[in-house]
Each structure stands twice: as C-alpha cells, then as structure tokens.
C-alpha cells in the first residue's frame, strides 16, 4: 500500500502519478538544503554527504522506491543515453529487492516523478545512481521483511523471499505490496545497508538483454522523435550564421503565407516557423532562411591559428599540485599564476600536443516536444539533465519552476552536452506562445553542427625530469582550453536566451574542480611522481561555444602523459610496459596492464614489417573511476593516406560488473569513437564561424575504417563499488593510436587529428 506522509502534499515537486497515487511531501528538504547545499559536479545539491552514491542528494527512500496497491516502482534520476544503464540499474534494483526484473516498473528522469540526480554524465551513472539504488533497495527490502515478520508472527530470519512473495516456514505468505501496507518508506536512508552476498546475485554480473533494444530494431516508438500527440504542430528554427550576427531584415509575411504555416515567430534574432506538416515547416524554414539578412559583428580564428589565439584570450589559471603521497591540491584561480621554474638536470624530456574542436555529432539532430496546457509547460526532451533544464526554461520564460515539467525521452546518442537542452528550450519557447498546441522542434543537421557546444580545441605541454634509473622526479603539465562544462546553470546558458530581444547573459564559466577535473581531467598522472604541478589556463572567452564532450580534457591529457611515458621508456632503454609497471603502485592499475600485455602478446611479438606499429596506453579515468589499459596494432598506407587498425586488446576494471556484455559494448564503442576522433575529426573553423555543417565537411569513421578486431577483457571485482565505463577507453585509445602510428610512420605526430595532419 501507499505510504503517504503526514506532511502536506506538494504535487509540483513530486506527485507520483501512477495508479492510486502516493503523494509525498518534501517539506523536509527546505531545512536540509539550507544546512548542506553544496552542488556536486553534476549539478545536483548534496544534502547528506555521509550517504552512499546519490542518496547524498536524495536521502529519502520513497523517492527511489514506491510501493502501492498497483505495484512496485523504482525511480532513477539518471537516463538512458544509449549506454544500457537503464537495464543495468534495473538489474541492481532487482537483486537488491530480491525481485524478478519483470515484477516492478522502472522510471527514469522526470521532474515530476524521480529524484534529481543532476546530469547523466561523466561515467557517473553506475557509480552514483547505481550505488543509490543498490542501497535504497537493500534497505527497503529489509524494512519489508521486518514488516512481514511482524505480520506473519515469525522471526525475520525464518522468512524466505521467493519472487516477490515473502514466505514463512509455516506456510504463511505475503506479497511485497501486502508487506508494505502501513510501512512508511518516507524516511531518510541509513548510512549502511544490510549486506548481500555477490555470489547470490541473480542479475548483477549477468548478461541481461537490454530492455530497449527490441523496439529499436523493429521500428517501435523509442525516441522523442517518435512522439505524435494529437494536434501536434511542427516547428523549425532559423539560426544566424554565428552568435554575434544581428538580424537586419527578414521577409516574414511571405513565409507566413506558405502552405501549412500557422505561425512565424521573430523575437530579436530568434526566428522560428510553425506549420501543420513537417515538410511544410522545412520548406518555410528554408524560405525564411533565404530571406534573412544578417549583419556580422565578429571575426573568427581558423584551424591554423586557433591554438595561438587561445593563449591570447582572457583566462584564469588553476594550479594543481601533488607532493609526495599527498592528494591533489588545487589552488584558487588567479588571472596570472607565476609560471613554474623550468626543470633541469641530465634527464628532462619535453613534448607538446594539440587537438582541434570536435563535434558530438549525434546522428539524429536534437529534437524536443512541448505543450503549454492548464498552466503547466511540459517538455519532452533527450536532455542529460531534466532538473537543471527545467530551471533554465523556467527562467527563460519567466515561469516558476513548479509550472515546468521536463520528462526525459530517449534521443540519438549525445556523448555530452549537445543541442538537446537548446532544442528543448526552443520547443518550450514556441509552445509557450501557442497555448494548447503540442509543438515538435527538430533541428536540421547544419543547425546541430553549427550550434551544438563543441568539444574544445586544446594545447598541452609537458616537461618531466627523471632519475638515472628512469624514476619520475618532477612533472610539469600545462594546458590551454575553453570550458568543458557549460551546462545549464542559468537560463543564459540556453542558446535561445542569447537570441531573443531581451537576452540573458550566460553565467560565468567555472571548471569542474580536481580531482575530477575539466580541461585538466586526467592531467595529474597516476604514476608515482613526488612532485607534480598542473597549470590549467582556463580560457574564459570562447571564440566558439564549448562544453562537455565524453572524457573532457582526458582525451588529450592521456595522449600527452602516455606519449611522455613512451619517450621516457625509450630514453632509459626500457620496455614501455615494464616502464609503466615500475612507476605504478595501484594493484588494479597493474592488473589491467599485465592482462593486456599478456593477451596482446606484447613480450612475444614478432618484429613488425615496415608501415606497421604498435602502441600501449593506460589510464584510470579521473584517477578515481574505471581502469583501462589498451594495446593496438596499425598499418599505414602513405600512398592512400590511410590507417588501418588491425587489432585492439583492452582490459578494464570497473569494479563490480553489473552487465558484462553491456560493459563490453561500452568499451568497444569508446575505442571506435576515440579512433574516429583521434584519426579524422576536426571542426572546420574560420570565416563566419563553424564551417563544418554536414558529414562531408566533418567526416567521421565509416565501416571500411573500423578496426579489424577488438577484444575486451574484464577484471571483475565482486563486492567493490561500481566505477562506470562509457568514457574510460577514449584517452587510452587515442594515446595508443598516437604511439602506434608514430612507429608505423616514423613520425611522432602529437597534433590531432592524425590523418589530416600527417598527410595534409
């Protein structure tokens, strides 16, 4: 049965809509928030730092698990982005509740229904969301068993949990729903949970087939793009050529007279058209676009000059240090930190690396639906963070948050902060002007490419001093980058807010602090070095809008670190794998490296023919999360300017594995995706701004360029925390490719992407 609290209902916050409706109050939160209140790195507010996982930000058990006469529902504020986490979280809940998967519902991010877990990002989902469900489910199960013991009149130790039935030795039995009657789940989670034996898991550690796949392979409704509510109209936006352009003139009457068009919206530099039919909206959008005259106010750097330009722009210096065995300390930012004294001595090695801007490049451009009805603006979105988005949209439209509901529905994979939030804001803005009409906004390909926040262009430099035996003595890493985390912390972070006649300024950039890091993610090496300093030159003026893309700065930082380790091994006459092992203390790091070396046959490889090369790389993501070591072999064809990846062997340690096949899928995906970034990808910039508008001006890997073979080995850690997977392979893949291509070509190219830079 339901567990209504005695507090007054607060439907705006979290009315549970299903069935008879458990309406839960969160009046308690006001006081808790005042006392705690720091935000975590994903934009959610920590209420109780002592609790495990995301129970820190949502300590009430009934926010996660609801039981009433209609059944059992587990709620997660995390979302399915195509990584399989919905199934994996469901598995965790099933084992900890001791219920079959099909015996309960599983609901993901909806501002009206689920906990606010901030963004689904940063390989945090299993570590934070999975851990919260792991503990909440265990504690609720224990409460139900105790309740059943009282109701059945037997000691709880004698009860058996049997597929959702609690049985006593004397034949008594209760369903979970019956046991829950009268039990108040509206209580704060405990810091520790009843222990479960990993050997007894029925789902955790098993290859449960993903729940979302059958619909996706048969044309079922699976994406926000597939929603067609009655009366839906189609909207298209018209964008300026760049952010600074000013709309000088546009022919609205002609567009308004076109077939099917019901509305043309202009608000400052914001332009949109609404039509009954989708193709009618596209045709009208094109006409409106063709008639629009824009006045340019900005000039843009090009691909050749961008790294030089980055060093001239306003910045903040964030200096992080690690001395001896102490943790990383990050100093408060200053406009100009005194530079480190250059290292000297007999063994000092230096290198520098660059990467260009990259696109998230979702195959499906961003899309959203919204309707303004009965005083509630409901937005269906593939955003990574429905709660921050709700606050942003409410601010943009001048509505109280309680009048905006954001519901996650899957979209095309995003890989970070793409156009999802901005398309949702477009749908909200247009729907708010057309009460009662469901509005579907679909961005076009060139709009997604031109307006998604880019993965930042970066430059790194590294200087390392070693002892005569190769031991690392001092480490100086410097990097230049615009922000990697321009999430929706205020309405001004939404694109529409810049274009309307009353624009809202974005909140000032602020990096994710160490140890997770931002542009400096993974810049601090896991290797044993007594004296480490990392200078992040955080460029606060963005020539191009940038934000989070998988792995943030780790992609180029791991390239930088691992290229240095290769050079140092060579300088000291050591094998690259042996050299790395000698500088590491963490047994789990050593474990994945040894496994890859064995499986790849690193020590027993035959000499390679000309044009072939091998590379080895390692990183622990953020020095906190999943461990990934990787070796690969490539063959280059300078005549055809092509690189073929012959084989890749990876080993990962992501703690307790929930779904081995899902983990393998993520690692394979990370390897292939990073192969594409590292070998081929760069946004063409210059002139009026972003010049990559489609897949010809921004080529990515196609099937003929896919590696011949990828083998993923998993080192399971039963009983250990979940560590996340989706972003752990990108850095090591890039570093191993740089190394292998270096051997194969005889040129140690550290300017990404490799193919256009090797053979311009």
């Amino acid at each position: 049965m339901s567990t209504p609290s005695d507090k007054p209902a607060s439907p705006g916050r979290r009315a549970f809509l299903a069935g008879s409706g458990v309406v839960v109050s969160f009046a308690l939160f006001g006081t808790l928030r005042v006392r705690a209140g720091q935000e975590n790195t994903l934009g959610a507010t920590v209420l109780n730092p002592k609790l495990p996982g995301d129970l820190k930000i949502e300590p009430m058990l009934d926010a996660w698990i609801k039981i009433d006469a209609t059944g059992i529902t587990v709620c997660s504020g995390k979302v399915e982005l195509g990584t399989g986490v919905k199934t994996a979280l469901w598995q965790v809940a099933a084992d900890q509740l001791a219920l079959p998967l099909e015996r309960f519902r599983f609901v993901t991010a909806d501002t009206a229904l689920t906990p606010d877990e901030g963004y689904t990002a940063g390989s945090h989902t299993m570590a934070d969301g999975g851990t919260a469900i792991f503990h909440a489910a265990s504690q609720v199960r224990e409460m139900l068993v105790e309740a059943a013991a009282a109701k059945l009149g037997v000691p709880s130790a004698q009860l058996v949990l049997d597929n959702g039935i609690i049985r006593s030795p004397d034949g008594g039995q209760l369903t979970y729903e019956e046991a829950a009657a009268g039990v108040n789940l509206h209580r704060v989670a405990a810091e520790t949970s009843p222990a479960t034996d990993p050997a007894a898991y029925r789902y955790i550690g098993r290859n449960v087939a993903r729940v979302d796949i059958p619909a996706k392979v048969t044309g079922g409704a699976a994406y926000v793009q597939d929603m067609r509510p009655d009366g839906m109209h189609h909207a298209r936006v018209v964008r300026p050529p760049n952010r600074g352009a000013v709309l000088a003139s546009v022919d609205i009457p002609s567009a308004a007279r076109m077939p099917g068009v019901v509305r043309v919206i202009r608000d400052g530099n914001y332009l949109a058209v609404v039509a009954k039919g989708e193709w009618q909206a596209v045709v009208a959008m094109r006409a409106l676009q063709a008639s629009a005259q824009w006045r340019q106010t900005e000039a843009f750097p090009d691909n050749a000059s961008i790294h030089r330009v980055l060093k001239t722009l306003p910045k903040l210096d964030y200096v992080s240090t690690r001395q001896g065995a102490a943790g990383v300390r990050q100093a408060a930012p200053v406009p100009e930190a005194p530079p480190p004294v250059p290292l000297d001595g007999p063994h000092v090695e230096r290198l520098a690396a660059t990467k260009q801007y990259v696109l998230h490049g979702s195959i499906g451009p961003s899309c959203a639906l919204a309707v303004w009805r009965d005083g509630i603006l409901t937005v269906w979105t593939h955003s990574q963070g429905v709660f921050p988005l709700r606050a942003g949209i409410a601010g943009l439209l001048g509505l109280p948050k309680e009048q905006v509901r954001c519901v996650h529905v899957e979209g095309s994979g995003c890989y970070g902060h793409n156009g999802a939030d901005d398309a949702a804001a477009d749908a909200a803005l247009i729907a708010h002007r057309m009460p009662g009409v469901p509005i579907r906004v679909q961005w076009m390909r060139d709009q997604e490419a031109g307006w998604e926040p880019l993965g930042p262009a970066m430059e790194t430099s590294l200087e390392v001093a070693t002892g005569a035996d190769g031991s690392l003595a001092a480490w100086r890493h410097a990097l230049w980058s615009t922000p990697h985390n321009e999430r929706i912390t205020n309405p001004g972070r939404l694109l529409a807010a810049w274009l309307v006649s009353q624009p809202i300024a974005p909140s000032p950039p602020s990096p994710i602090p160490q140890p997770e890091g931002d542009a400096d993610r993974n810049a601090v090496p896991l290797y044993r070095v007594p004296d480490v300093r990392v200078d992040m030159h955080f460029v606060t003026q963005m020539p191009f809008r940038t934000s989070a893309m998988r792995s943030l700065g780790a992609h180029i930082n791991v390239v930088t670190i691992e290229s240095m380790m290769d050079r140092l091994a060579e300088r000291h006459g050591q094998d690259p794998v042996d050299y790395r092992l000698a500088q590491l203390d963490d047994p789990r790091a050593i474990g994945v490296i040894r496994r890859v070396a064995d499986e790849f046959g690193w020590k027993t490889m035959a000499p390679r023919p000309a044009n072939r090369g091998v590379g080895f790389a390692f990183a622990q993501y953020k020095n906190l999360m999943g461990y990934c070591a990787l070796a690969l072999e490539v063959e280059v064809d300078p005549e055809r300017r092509s690189i073929r990846v012959l084989r890749v062997v990876a080993a990962v340690d992501c703690g307790q594995i929930v779904n081995p096949d899902g983990l393998t899928n993520q690692i394979e995906g990370g390897i292939v995706q990073s192969t594409s970034w590292t070998l081929y990808e760069q946004v063409q910039i210059g002139g009026v701004g972003v010049r990559s508008v489609d897949w010809q001006s921004y080529p990515i890997l196609r099937f003929p360029q896919v590696p011949d073979r990828i083998d993923v080995h998993m080192l399971d850690q039963p009983g250990k925390p979940f560590l996340g997977a989706a972003e752990i392979a990108q850095g090591p893949t890039a570093a191993a490719l740089v190394s292998a291509v270096g051997e194969a070509t005889g040129r140690r190219m550290l300017q990404l992407p490799l193919v256009p830079n090797l053979w311009p």
Binding site: G82, P214, Q225, G361, I363, R445, G669, P704
Partner: protein, 163 residues
C-alpha cells in the same frame, strides 16, 4: 492523392509530391523506423528499400515511389516475430543509442537478399553509407555476418524455402 505501397499495404496520402518519402513514412503513416539524420543522404539513418534497393528516404520524393514497393524495418519483423537480421541484432546486442540501427538493418537486408554469402570487405563497403556515432560497428558487423553465414535472406534461398 499519391498512392504508395509500403510493407505490402497500399496507402493514399494527400501531400506535396515533392515531399521526401521519409516525412510521409514518419508522419502520414506513423512509421518510426526510418529516421531523420541529415536530410542530405550522408548518414543513412533514413534508409529504406525501394524495389529491393536501399535508398535515402530523406531525399527520395514520395512521387517517385509510384509503381514501386517500399519496405521499411517495420516490414522485416516484429518484436514477437523478428526477421533474421533483427534477431541477430538482438542476439548480439548490436545497439547503443540505436538511432542509426533501423537504417543499418535495412541496408544490410538489401545486401543479404542479393548476395548469399558476402565477404567481410563486401559487407564493409556495402555498409559504408551508413554512419554510427556510438561505435557499435563491431557488433553491427557481427550481426550481419551471422545472417550472411546462413544465407537465409538470399532471394533464391527464400524462394526455395517458400516453395
């Protein structure tokens, strides 16, 4: 009115004849399989079969389907009764976000109907117009190889099975 034959059923729709087939499939016929990806024939998310050949439905005018048959991923099977490729994609869990997958399955269907046992190079070349951003390629290739090894989609083979 334009008449079109999709997945064996005849539909009459009242649209501008220049409308790309994709928009008619998705909106007038409420079929979700073919996806909008680029609108320029560069990514393959919208791939459908017209007279057994893969086409980019985002570019293909609906009027050009006159006298031809259109097949989409919905025509290849259902969750309860998946076609061979759909089953292989489920068996190999060859999906991450899945947005590109319907187009992948449809394009692979065209190859395996025409060529019983394509080589790896043939498969890769044939699949080249379709993009995947999640990096699911290894599994997509494995799913196609599984069906290729059986040869069951080859038109000659299917005819034999039916007779």
């Amino acid at each position: 009115m334009i008449e079109l034959n999709v997945n064996g059923a005849v539909h009459r729709v009242d649209v501008d004849p220049a409308t790309p087939l994709l928009y008619v499939l998705r909106n007038e016929l409420a079929l979700n399989g073919a996806k909008f990806g680029c609108g320029m024939g560069q990514c393959g998310a919208c791939t459908v079969l017209v007279d057994n050949r893969p086409v980019f439905s985002c570019l293909y005018p609906v009027s050009s389907t006159a006298g031809r048959t259109v097949r989409t991923v919905e025509g290849l099977g259902t969750p309860a009764h998946p076609g061979p490729l759909q089953k292989a994609f489920v068996d190999t869990q060859a999906v991450q976000c899945g947005y590109c997958i319907a187009g992948m399955i449809v394009r692979a269907q065209a190859l395996l109907e025409a060529v019983a046992h394509p080589t790896e190079a043939q498969i890769r070349a044939h699949m080249s117009p379709n993009l995947c951003r999640c990096g699911t390629h290894m599994r997509i290739l494995e799913a196609i190889r599984r069906v290729a090894s059986s040869g069951e989609l080859h038109r000659a083979a299917s005819k034999e099975n039916r007779s």
